[in-house]
């Protein structure tokens, strides 16, 4: 019973905010999704032929977090201009550092893209997976599609979607 399936790593390990990491591995006919806290691993298998849809949702708090960073930066800059005179150089430097730190974080966040919640829907259920932030998630999805194309005609283009629009079906995702 101990026959191991040959897997290869599919894309980079993704880390969640709470330190859990996730990894997709790929076999001949399925993905193995692993979530781990370092000492325990949970597995989910997604067979290529079963995957019906992948959904990515932009997190709503994203704009709010960026706004807070920018607001904080503006506030510190304002204090710096109003309260610090030319003689007090050390205080000015500290305030500049405090003001620039959130700017650096905000720019980094903008570069890596907003956090997205990713969901894989199969005929048997809906599972949350970590595909990374938006840019990486899009890249990872693109990689997944290359495997899915072999198993089914994926993804559906607009013409296919309109053909499906003719059939009576309710699809929840």
């Amino acid at each position: 019973m101990d026959k191991k399936i040959e897997y290869k790593s599919f894309f980079q390990k993704q880390k969640s905010f709470f330190g859990e990491n996730s990894l997709f591995r790929v076999a001949d006919d399925h993905f193995l999704y692993t979530e781990s806290d370092g000492y325990k691993e949970d597995y989910k298998r997604f067979f290529f032929a079963d995957i019906q849809a992948v959904k990515m949702i932009k997190r709503r708090d994203w704009t709010f977090i960026i706004s807070i960073f920018v607001l904080f930066m503006v506030l510190v800059m304002f204090i710096m201009v109003v309260a610090v005179d030319g003689d007090y150089e050390t205080g000015g430097v500290i305030l500049i550092i405090i003001a620039i730190a959130p700017l650096v974080i905000a720019v980094y966040c903008l570069l890596v893209g907003c956090p997205v919640e990713s969901i894989i829907k199969t005929a048997y259920g809906t599972d949350k997976v970590i595909l990374g932030r938006r840019r990486r998630a899009e890249k990872n999805l693109h990689k997944m599609i290359t495997y899915l194309e072999a198993a089914q005609n994926a993804p559906l283009d607009d013409a296919e979607l309109y053909r499906l629009d003719e059939i009576e079906k309710v699809f929840r995702i």
Binding site: P155, L164, E168
Partner: protein, 184 residues
């Protein structure tokens, strides 16, 4: 008509906005939905079992159905519906449930004993002479769980090897130090 419904708010997503990020009309969350052709597929329910005949054995779970296989776990007759074929074995649902965690290709979770053993070994480095107590635990943990890593993928045993090297080194090193301090 194909109705794609947002599970969060039950809002109806338009076909035009599916393959790109667009707002759900209900919850206003920006989302991208990529659909695949298996959307039309329904879950397979398994082959329908045949009705039992006079000279045929019946399924243990469905007495009116003809047996198609013998369970490799308990030896019971099972029909097509009950037959779970996995890793070249035929199992009845009960045996499958009892042994699922031992079958690497279906296991859903695994304790990573090698990572734990390695963590104990690294902690042992930090606690100095107290590792005379923790190093044997790390060695024991590594040896006891040597063959008990049941990941579906191939996982090397290097963590166990490193654990044994560190823990053995620490144990003998601190033992020599202790003997030297006591007797010399």
């Amino acid at each position: 008509m194909l109705d794609v419904i947002c599970e969060k708010c039950s809002g109806r997503l338009t076909v035009e906005g599916l393959n790109t990020f667009s707002s759900c009309p209900g919850c206003r969350l920006k989302q991208k939905v990529v659909l695949f052709s298996s959307i039309e597929k329904e879950p397979e329910k398994g082959a329908a079992p045949e009705a039992v005949l006079d000279d045929h054995a019946a399924c243990i779970n469905h007495p009116e159905k003809s047996a198609a296989a013998l369970c490799d776990g308990c030896g019971a007759y099972i029909c097509n519906l009950c037959d779970i074929e996995i890793e070249k074995q035929h199992l009845c649902p009960r045996c499958f449930n009892n042994t699922a965690d031992e079958i690497s290709s279906v296991s859903k979770k695994t304790e990573l004993h090698d990572s734990r053993a390695l963590a104990i070994a690294f902690v042992s480095i930090l606690i100095g002479p107290l590792s005379l107590l923790t190093a044997p635990i790390a060695i024991g943990w590594a040896l006891f769980h040597w063959n008990k890593i049941n990941t579906p993928y191939k996982r090397g045993k290097w963590r166990f090897v490193v654990t044994l090297m560190i823990a053995t080194g620490l144990f003998f090193g601190w033992s020599v130090w202790l003997i030297y301090r006591i007797w010399i």
